[in-house]
């Protein structure tokens, strides 16, 4: 078996069985970013083979704090499938994840195809609607520790998403206040401005990056723009809610 196929299988199995796995980059120091994206595609192909459907993509490392933390100056992306969708107002089963964390986001749904180098104007023109969202990120690596290549191969830690009501994209989304509460207590504070200064910059990056992998953003695809604050590591029994200024509130309860 090709070495990249082996990594893809290892990561897919880790996700499927909710067990952590050692970092690839520690044992393979020749592992490149290009190869990491190939591993991601291969591991997602295994999901498609089991019947999961592609629903869009997620952007990651979209805040300066995260970029500095990982030591990079470029955003990353991952793929979303229908199996990752969690019902808004419903439950998250913690045992299906390794060490899940929730982060507050803004999400786009596309009405037109978008790819390559586009302007913010073209990107917004391709958007059908926007909404509030929480992403469940769950690194399959031990202790949530990884190098850039590791996290890319691991589908950019993507593992679940909760999405709220759609709004027409005529709302100014440049600086929407975001409050993540846990059992009603404010826990994370932020603004959509933390997403690269404006979430549309994330969408512009998304269009450019998917094309590099020979893909496009298609009508009906959702694009998770990236976290606006640090992620909250969830515990069983918590109800985690996100309120986004002008977009509403969404929540999910964590069970065993």
């Amino acid at each position: 078996m090709d070495r990249l196929d082996a990594y893809a299988e290892k990561l897919d199995t880790a996700a499927l069985t909710a067990t952590d796995t050692p970092q690839i980059s520690v044992e393979d120091n020749s592992f490149t970013v290009d190869e990491a994206y190939q591993v991601q595609a291969k591991s997602i192909d295994r999901r498609y083979a089991r019947g999961e459907k592609r629903i869009g993509i997620k952007m990651g490392l979209t805040s300066r704090a995260k970029m500095i933390q990982v030591g990079v100056d470029e955003v990353i992306w991952g793929r979303l499938t229908n199996k990752m969708v969690l019902e808004e107002g419903g439950t998250l089963s913690k045992s299906k994840f390794v060490h899940p964390r929730i982060e507050p986001e803004i999400v786009f749904i596309m009405k037109k195809e978008l790819k390559g180098n586009v302007t913010a104007l073209e990107a917004m023109d391709a958007v059908e609607a926007i909404g509030p969202a929480m992403e469940v990120i769950d690194s399959r690596y031990e202790n949530f520790k990884f190098a850039l290549t590791d996290v890319i191969a691991d589908n950019s830690s993507s593992s679940g998403l909760v999405i709220g009501n759609w709004h027409k994209p005529d709302i100014d989304i440049s600086n929407l206040g975001m409050r993540l509460t846990v059992n009603g207590q404010d826990t994370m504070f932020g603004s959509s401005a933390a997403i690269l200064g404006h979430p549309v910059r994330s969408l512009v990056s998304a269009a450019r990056m998917v094309e590099q992998s020979g893909e496009t953003l298609k009508p009906g695809d959702i694009v998770m723009a990236g976290g606006a604050t640090e992620a909250h590591a969830v515990s069983v029994g918590e109800t985690v809610s996100l309120t986004v200024q002008n977009l509403g509130t969404i929540s999910i309860t964590v069970e065993a």
């Binding site: 600086n175 929407l176 206040g177 401005a193």
Partner: protein
């Protein structure tokens, strides 16, 4: 009180000297075993000195309004400091760094009062009724304590680490913006360097104002019509550099810029 009147005057003298000589001082807690009450007594001593020397009180600032900072300083309540009219800067006006020791900035909502808040048992309803309008404000905080090595008594004695403040110029009534959920960003060279939201200030910036109104009545300097309240940071402290400009945007309140020069 755990320290003497003489020590209060000594501590106040050290703070005043730091302002005059532009030289930071060692933490006051190293020399004075102050309670929080003592620290406010030191602050009041400096306030009296400055009023006597001709400075005009323009309002108050509320500090330590985030749970995170309260945790760092080991307290469960905010603190307050005095604002003087000479600390006020206009949108984009040049701020000479030579007037400051180790400035940092915060994005806040400033409330301007149209009536006195001097009644006993003041309620949130009365605070709301007393507010004329809100503007976005950059608070330039500063510390006379070397290297910002502060505990709660150091910062209280040092006028709650006040520096200057820069006010936005688009007044908005309370009913016309979402003071709870408003997004806050400070941009530097087009990139976000600090973000936050209204509720980061004590759960609600008006909670901080109510706390202040009660506290000021208690200490005998009640809030008056025409006073400005800097209600507390909506995000983390942000470092600043000379010859750089920082723009604060609060959703619904417009923007304001702080320009630092040498």
């Amino acid at each position: 009180m755990t320290i003497s009147q003489k020590e209060i005057k000594q501590a106040a003298g050290l703070i005043q000297e730091a302002y005059e000589t532009h030289q930071p001082i060692a933490p006051l807690r190293d020399s004075f075993d102050m309670s929080i009450e003592d620290a406010y007594a030191v602050q009041e001593e400096t306030t009296k000195h400055w009023i006597k020397s001709g400075r005009i009180l323009s309002g108050r600032k509320i500090g330590v309004t985030s749970k995170a900072v309260q945790g760092q300083l080991g307290v469960d309540q905010p603190d307050f400091g005095m604002l003087f009219s000479d600390m006020a800067y206009a949108d984009g006006q040049e701020i000479s760094m030579s007037h400051l020791l180790q400035p940092r900035i915060e994005g806040e909502i400033a409330f301007y009062l149209k009536s006195d808040l001097d009644q006993e048992n003041v309620t949130l309803a009365e605070v709301v009724a007393a507010i004329d309008y809100a503007v976005a404000a950059i608070e330039v905080v500063d510390s006379r304590i070397d290297d910002w090595n502060i505990q709660i008594t150091d910062t209280i004695a040092d006028n709650a680490s006040s520096g200057l403040y820069v006010l936005g110029s688009t007044p908005v009534e309370l009913k016309d913006f979402d003071h709870l959920n408003c997004g806050m960003v400070i941009e530097h060279r087009g990139q976000p360097v600090c973000t936050g939201v209204g509720s980061a200030c004590l759960g609600n910036p008006l909670n901080a104002c109510l706390w202040l109104a009660k506290k000021m009545l208690l200490v005998g300097r009640p809030l008056k019509a025409g006073d400005l309240i800097l209600s507390g940071a909506l995000g983390p402290l942000t470092p600043v550099s000379v010859n750089e400009s920082y723009e604060l945007k609060i959703n619904g309140l417009g923007s304001v810029r702080a320009n630092f020069t040498s």
